[in-house]
């Protein structure tokens, strides 16, 4: 199993997580994905990549350095993103019932391991 697939497995095993994507940050293209039906991976990758890119620029402009983790909460759940090295971002789509704390730990660890 590839490092990317291992990372996706770890994240999607967290209860409530509906899918995970590894994407190229600069391109917004999917590198690997493991998603439930009904989630458009291509759109999620493009938009999450754009979001992380803009937040990175905002954090740098504010003198905060690189963002380590991004959580976007909405009515139906959360988008979680962990930027890694080598221009990749690990993104998870979590439902409202998800254990976001555990997902965050798994994502930070996985992002650190597979890059």
């Amino acid at each position: 199993m590839s490092a990317a697939q291992t990372a996706l497995d770890r994240v999607t095993r967290v209860p409530g997580v509906r899918g995970a994507i590894i994407l190229s940050a600069s391109d917004g293209l999917v590198v690997a994905e493991q998603l439930m039906d009904g989630i458009d991976g291509r759109a999620a990758a493009a938009l999450a990549g754009s979001l992380v890119g803009r937040l990175t620029r905002a954090a740098r402009s504010a003198g905060l350095g690189e963002p380590a983790f991004v959580q976007l909460r909405s009515e139906g759940g959360s988008i979680l993103a962990a930027p890694g090295g080598q221009d990749v971002v690990l993104v998870a789509v979590a439902g409202p019932e998800a254990n976001v704390g555990l997902a965050r730990l798994e994502m930070l660890d996985a992002a650190g391991r597979f890059v």
Partner: protein
């Protein structure tokens, strides 16, 4: 943004707003310009349309030689600017989109909203008028009329 056909304006404007594309050209597969955004000189539009149509024709032929179906999109990554060229079917014939974008956006975003624009164009395209073939004797007149409409001058 200028368009020869008004029904193209809304989908194209949405695409421009969402994608942050710098230049966009919609043309027929023969290189006739349908709409443009960002070009300031008619010569640039003519050149880009001719080159874009030629590249799509070449890649179509390459795909045929490889026994493949047509390629979906061609993306050229540059340092300061990148370019995407994609052909798609509409009720008005086969069209080509040429999009130039910078590092302020990404190829994923451009492709995502380009595909949404194509869906909108296919949905709202008027069905009643079939595209007329371009004859050599009409070409120069049609080209000048199109450029006048797109730039307000000849």
């Amino acid at each position: 943004m200028r368009a020869l056909e008004p029904w193209v304006i809304d989908p194209l404007q949405t695409f421009l707003d969402e994608s942050s594309a710098r230049l966009t050209l919609l043309m027929t597969s023969s290189g006739q310009v349908v709409a443009q955004h960002g070009f300031s000189r008619s010569l640039d539009v003519m050149t880009a349309a001719a080159l874009g149509a030629g590249i799509v024709a070449s890649t179509d032929e390459l795909a045929r030689l490889m026994g493949a179906t047509r390629f979906g999109a061609l993306v050229h990554h540059g340092v300061r600017q990148s370019c995407m060229l994609s052909a798609f079917g509409t009720p008005r014939g086969r069209w080509i989109g040429l999009v130039v974008f910078g590092p302020e956006t990404s190829v994923g975003i451009v492709q995502l909203f380009f595909d949404q624009m194509v869906e909108q164009l296919v949905t709202i395209a008027p069905r009643e008028q079939a595209p007329a073939p371009v004859l050599a004797e009409n070409f120069e007149g049609e080209l000048n009329a199109s450029l006048k409409a797109l730039f307000g001058r000849q």
